[in-house]
Symmetry: D3
C-alpha cells in the first residue's frame, strides 16, 4: 500500500514557451522502454515477486525503496510535459476558429486529440509503454544486472533528451533525474558488488560523461544529493543501508541513508484549456453544481 | 511522491494447491484491459493531468485518492498470483530431472521461463498491459464516465475470474476487490451526479448481480467496507468527502470518509524455488557475502 | 449479409488544397481507438454475439441497426482522407524528378509508401486499428454503457479534429458525424433509461459543448437530422422504435424512426496519381486490355 | 452505405457439443491474418481508395462487390464460434459453484472473461486483428496479386481448421467458405488475366488439394455455387460480369453473374448464459422494464 | 551457418547532406512490412522449414540462396541510413549547447534518443519489424506466390522511397535493390512457372514501370546484373540453375548463374558523434585501455 | 554480405516422439525477447552501426563475429522445433479424417494453421519477435553491458527450457547453446574489462548454476568448446583475439581463437506432411514438372 503526498520532489520552472515537439520528445522519459514507467514498474514488480526475502532482506529493501522513489519521477516527467503543452493551442470556445490548427504538424497528435494537452504513457514516437518492458526473472543477480543496465540506458536517454530540449522546465527536470537515477545506478552496482565481489562501480560513468557537465545536476550534486538514499517509507525498508554504504564510486563521497524524504513542492496548477473543454466547467452551471456538492 | 507501506490490505490465505492455470487466469485482473494496472494508471495519469484543479478540487481529490488505493490492488493481485505459482514445479537443483516438465502445458509459459514463477504485467492470454489502456481526455465529465465504465468492466472481469478459480486465495482476493471496486463505482457515479444531476447510481449493479452473492465480499460489506472511502494520504485529498457522501445507491447506508487507512497485513513470504535459481543464493558464499554486506 | 449502395451519405466538397498532415489527423476518426472502425466493429460484433435476442429484441435491433449506419461512416471518413491526399504530390511518370520529395516530411509516410495517397485503417499516429478496441461483454447493460462512453469519446475526438483541420471537406464530414454520432449517443442513453430508469440523458452534452456551435452540424440539426433513426434494412430491425422514441434530451424535439435511408450521393472519383502508378494503366495496353475484357 | 439483412448465407447446424478449444481454433478464420476480417477490410478499403474508377470500372465493381459478400462471412464465422461456445460452462446464477471452473484450461480465456462466450476479433492465439493486415497500394495489378495471394492463404487456413475441428457446425461453415472463397480466388485470377494476359488460373488449386475432397464443399459445388458471382447490391457493381466470365479454370464450367443474393437463413438464437449475466435480464424487473419500453 | 564478409555489394556515395527525415523514410526499406528484414527472414525461415527437400531440391536451393543474398541488403540499407544520419546533429561534448535541438522535429526521434544516429529495425513510422511479417506455410506453391507478391510489394516501396529521397546515397542504394529485387521477382515467377506451367512472368513489371526509368538501376542492368543469380555459398545450393534459366521475361536476355559473389566494397567508416558519446572513447583513457588490450 | 553453409553446428538426434507443446516452449529460444533472433539482430545491427570503427577495431570485430555465429543458432533452434513438430499430426490426404484433431489443444495453434508444422519467429506464447528487442545505443560501453545482460538473460531462458523439455533433441540443442552462449557472456565480460578495468567476470555464473550441471554442455566443455572463439569469416574480424584472450573466468582455461569454423553436420531432412499439403507435390504432375525443370 502507499500514502500519496501531493508534492513534487523539485520545483519546476514555467517553460519559456509552450512546445508540442519538446513535449513529444520528453515522452520518451515517461513511457519509453527506458522511461520512468519502466523503472517504476520493474522495481515494483520485482519487489512483489521477491523470493527468499528473509535471507536477502537488504536487497529486497533496496529494490522496494527505489521503486517507491520512482513514483515521484513519473509524476515529475508528466508535469514537465504538461507544462510544455499548456497554452500550446489557441484558447477559446469557438471551434470555427480552428484553435488547434497549428498543432496539425505536431509530432504527437494524441496530445491534442486523445488527451487535453497533457501527458500519456507513450514514448517519443507516440507508442505505448508496455508490460513487456518489465523484467523480473526471480534470480536476484540477474535482476540486479538488468536494473543496472536499465538505469544506464535510462541515463543515456535522459542525456539525449537534455541535449534536444533546452527549455528550463525540461532541463531542471532532467538534471534532477540524472542525479537521482545516478543514485540508483550506484545502488545496483553496490548490490552486485556486495553479492559477488566484482567491482562494478569501476564501469561508471555510463555513458562516458559526468553529471557535473549538466549545470542543473551539478548544483544538486554539490548539495550531496547524489550520495543520499532517501527511505520512502515510515516503517519499512530499514536495511537498505546494508547495501547503500561506503564511498561513491565516482567521487569517493560517503553514501548515506536518510530516514525521511524531502518536503517537496506543490505541483503546478495547470490552466484550463477551454478549446479542449478541459476541464469543461460550464460557468452557468456553477451555482447549481456547487449546491449539489454541498448535498 | 509516495510513501510505501510494506503491508497488504488483507491477509491472503495459502492456496489449497499451486495451479499455473489458475494463476494465468488471475493475470487478467493485473494486466488485462480492465485489470488493476489499468485502474491504477488511469487515475494516476488523470490526477497528474488535471486542469483547473482549484475550481474542481473535490473531483481532483477523489481521483487522486482512488489512484493511491489502486496501488494496493496491483500488489494484492500480484501476491495472489505468486502464491498460486509457488511450488508449481518440482523443487531441486538438478536440471536433468526436468523439474518444469509438467509446466510445458501451462497456459502462460512466461511464468516459468521469464519470471521465477511470479506475476508479470500481462493479461490472461499472456499479452502485456499497455499504455493505450489509459484514457485521459482532460474533459472531466468524459473522464468520469470512462472511469465509471472502466470500474464496471473491471467488476465483470472480477466476477468471471471468481467463477473460474475456486481456490480460497483467489476468492478472498476477488471478494475484497469486488467491495473496494464497488466503492470506486459508486464514487464515480456520485461524482457524475454531483456534476450533472443525473441519477447514475440507478444503473447499479453492473453487471446485474449483487456483491452479496459472493461470501468473501458479503462478509466485508457486513462490516461496512463498501461505504468507506479511506484517505490514502497524511495531508492531502481532504475534500474527497464533498463527493463521497449521502446514501449508498444499492443499500442506502451512509457513505463515510476515513482519514486513515487500515493497518494491513504483512505480505506473505515467497519460498525459494531453487530449480529456477530464485533467488539464487549460493550457500557456500553466504559467509563471504555476509561479510561484504557489513563492509 | 449486406447489400452495398455505392453512395455516400452526404456530398463532400473538394478540399481547398491537398494536405498530407490534415489527412493524417483525420485518420484518428477512421482507425483510432474512438474512430469509425471502432464504432462499426463494436456494434457489429455485439449484434452477432447477442444472447437472449427474443426477450430483448428492441435492443438487438437498435445495436444492429446502428452498426449498419456506421459502415457509411468509415466510407465517408475514408473519402475525406482520400480527397485531402489527392494531388498531394507532383504528378508525372519520371521518378528522377523526385515527385514525392515534399512528402518526406509528412507525418504519415505510409500514405505515400504503402498506399496510393489514400486512407489506411490507422490512427493519427499511423498506428493500426486493432480488434482489442472491440468490447462485447455479453452483459447488455455493460455493453450499452460501453457504447455510450465510446460515442462520447468519439465525439470528443471529432470536435478536436474539427478544431485542427479547417478544410471544408473535413468540416462538412465532421459536422455530419457530430450529428449522426449524436443520434447514437442519445440512442444508447435511451436504451439505458429504458432498461434501468436512470436519466442518463441528463449527462449530455459530453464534452460540454453543443453541436449548434458547429455550423456544418447546426444546419443538419435544423433539418431535424439529429432526431431521426434511419432503418438501414429493408425487412429487419423493425422494433428499433421501441427504444428510439420520446423527446430528445437536449432540445426536446420528438425522436422518430424513418423506414428508409437517405438517397445519398455518388462518391467522388479519385484522380489517377501516375507517379505512384495508381492505378497503373499502361495507355499502350488499353486496346489489348479492352479486348480481353470483352472475351 | 449498406443495408443489413438479418440472415446468414447458410443454415448452421447445432454443434454436437460445445467446445472452447474448437471455438478458439475457428477464431483464426475470423481475426487471423488470413481471416474474414482481413478479406472484408482489404477489399472494402481498396474499393474506397480506387483511383481512376471510371477507366477501370469492371475491376472496381469486382472488388467492391466481393467486399460486400465478405460481410456475410465474418457473420457466419462469428455465429459458428458462438454456437460452439454456447453451453460451454455450467449454467446458473450462483457464483460460488465456480461455473467457469473447467474453462480455466481453455486456450482462449477471453471468451469467458472478456466476452459472454462469444466471438471476438482475435486469431487462434487470442491476438487481435489489426489494420496492418490491410494492403491497399493503389496499383491495381499489385492489389489484385495481393488479393489473389490473400485468398489462397485464407484457403490454406480454412483447410487446416477443417482438419482440426470435426464438429458439423464448423465443417458446414468451412465447406461454404471454401466454395465462396474459391470464387474469389478465381475472380482475382480472372482479373489478372484480363489485365495482363497471364494464365494465372493455371496455378490452381492452391494449396494442392481440390474442394471436391470436402463433402460440405462438394455438395455446394455440385449445385454450381462455385461458378456464381452474386451481385451484393440493388443498383450498383453491374459491370462485374466483364471480369467474371468464361470457363472456370478448374472444371471448365461457365462463370455466371446472378443479380440477386440467396435468400439466406435466420441466424440462430443464442441462449442466455446466466452465470455470465448474459444478457442479464433481471426477471423481477421485466414488468417495469416493459412499461418503460412502451413509453 | 554463415561466413561473414565485411563488404557491401556496392560502393555507397557520401550523402550531399545529412537528413533525418530522409533517413526516416528509408527505414521503410529496412524494417517495414516489405523491407529487407522481411525478405531476409521470410526466405531464411522457409529454407529452415522446407519439407521434402530431396524431392524439391532446386526450389530449396533457390529460396535458401536468395535468403543469403538478402543479408547484404539489410546491410546496405542500414549503411545508407547511417550515412544520412552521420553529422545530423551538432558535434561536441558540451550538452548545454543543446546539440540535438534541431532534431526535436525529426520524424523518427529514436534515431537520436535510442540509437547513436544509426539504423534500427523499424519502418518509416518508427514501428518495429515483427515476426508476424514472416509467411512460411509449408506449401511450396503458396510460399512461392507469397514470395512473388512480397518482392512486388517491396519493389513498389523501393520506387516510392526513390521518388521521396533524391540524395545520391539513397538513389544508388535503391537502384541496386531494384535490380537485385527484380532478380528475385523473376526467380519466384520462374519457380512458379516450372512448378505449374502458368506464365507468371507475363504479369511483369509490377508496379507498371520499368527499371530502365531509374538511371542507377539502368546502368547496372546494362551490365547484365538483372540476369545473374549469384550463388552465395561455396559448396551448396548448386541446383539453383535448374530454376534460374531461360530468357528474362522482360527483355529476353539469358538468365545465368554465377558460382561466386562480387568482390564488394569496404563499408564506409562512420564518424564519431561525441555529443551522443558514440562510441564514447575517453581520450585520457586511451593509453590505459591500449595496455589492457595487449594483456 | 554472407556465404551460407548448408550445415548445422551440431548433429541433432531425432526426438523420442513429436510434441507440439515441447516445440511451443522451445520457440522462446527462437523468437522470445532473449531468443536467438534477438542475439543475432542485436549484434548484427550494432556491427552495422559501429561508429569510430578504426579506433575500436577489436570491439567491432568481436561484435560482428559473434553476430555471424548467432545465425547458426537461429538455424539450430528452428530445426529442433521442426523435428519436434514432424509427425505431430496424422499423416494422410483425406481431410475428413480430421488429421489435426488432436492439435486443437496445442498451445501454439499457428504451428498447424499458419506454418506446416514448423518454426515461426514467435516466442513461447506465440507472440512475434519484434525489432524493439534490438538495442543499439551507439555508446560502446552501454552496448556491451546490454549484450552482457542479454546473454545472461538468454542463459536463464535456455536453462529453464532445458528443465521443461527433456526430449534429447532439445537437450542436445540447449546444451550446445549454453556452451556457445557462455562464450559470448565471457566475451562481453572481457570486452568490458578491457575497456574499463572492472572485473566483470567475477559476476559469473549468472544465473547461479554451472554449465557442468548439464551433461550435454559438460561433454562439450570437456572438449574445450567453451574457451574457443571461432572466426566466422575468411578474411575479416581478425583482431577479435585482442579481446578474447587470457584465462576463462570460471575455470581458468586459456581463451583461444580459431581461424576456421567447425565442419558442421547436414541439416536433417524434414518429412513431408501430406495432410498439410507440405510441400504439396502432386505425384501425377511429377513427370511434367521434371520436364519443365530441365527446360
Amino acid at each position: 500500500m502507499i500514502l500519496r503526498i501531493d508534492k513534487l520532489p523539485i520545483e519546476l520552472p514555467k517553460p519559456k514557451h509552450p512546445s508540442p515537439n519538446n513535449a513529444a520528445a520528453i515522452q520518451e522519459l515517461l513511457g519509453g522502454k527506458f522511461g520512468e514507467m519502466s523503472t517504476l514498474m520493474n522495481y515494483t514488480m520485482q519487489s512483489f515477486n521477491f523470493r527468499g526475502r528473509n535471507q536477502m532482506r537488504p536487497y529486497y529493501d533496496l529494490i522496494a525503496n527505489i521503486a517507491a522513489e520512482e513514483y515521484g519521477h513519473i509524476e515529475l516527467v508528466s508535469y514537465a510535459i504538461n507544462l510544455l503543452l499548456t497554452g500550446a493551442s489557441k484558447r477559446g470556445t469557438d471551434p470555427t476558429t480552428a484553435p488547434l490548427k497549428e498543432n496539425v504538424d505536431a509530432r504527437n497528435s494524441l496530445h491534442f486529440i486523445s488527451s487535453g494537452q497533457t501527458a500519456l504513457p507513450l514514448d517519443s514516437q507516440g507508442r505505448p509503454w508496455t508490460g513487456d518492458y518489465v523484467f523480473s526473472s526471480g534470480n536476484l543477480k540477474l535482476d540486479l544486472i538488468h536494473n543496472f543496465f536499465l538505469e544506464c540506458g535510462a541515463r543515456a536517454n535522459k542525456i539525449r533528451v537534455y541535449e534536444m530540449v533546452d527549455d528550463p522546465t525540461a532541463r531542471e527536470m532532467v538534471g534532477f533525474l540524472l542525479v537521482r537515477g545516478g543514485v540508483h545506478i550506484v545502488a545496483y552496482a553496490r548490490a552486485l558488488e556486495k553479492l559477488t565481489g566484482a567491482n562494478v562501480g569501476k564501469l561508471l560513468p555510463i555513458p562516458d560523461i559526468n553529471n557535473k557537465k549538466f549545470p542543473e545536476a551539478r548544483k544538486l550534486e554539490e548539495k550531496g544529493l547524489h550520495r543520499i538514499m532517501f527511505r520512502f517509507s515510515v516503517d519499512d525498508y530499514k536495511r537498505v543501508g546494508e547495501v547503500w554504504n561506503g564511498p561513491h564510486p565516482e567521487d569517493g563521497s560517503e553514501l548515506i541513508v536518510e530516514d525521511a524524504i524531502p518536503a517537496g513542492f506543490a505541483p503546478p496548477d495547470l490552466d484550463e484549456e477551454p478549446q479542449l473543454t478541459s476541464p469543461g466547467i460550464d460557468p452557468e452551471m456553477v451555482a447549481e453544481f456547487a449546491a449539489r456538492l454541498s448535498r
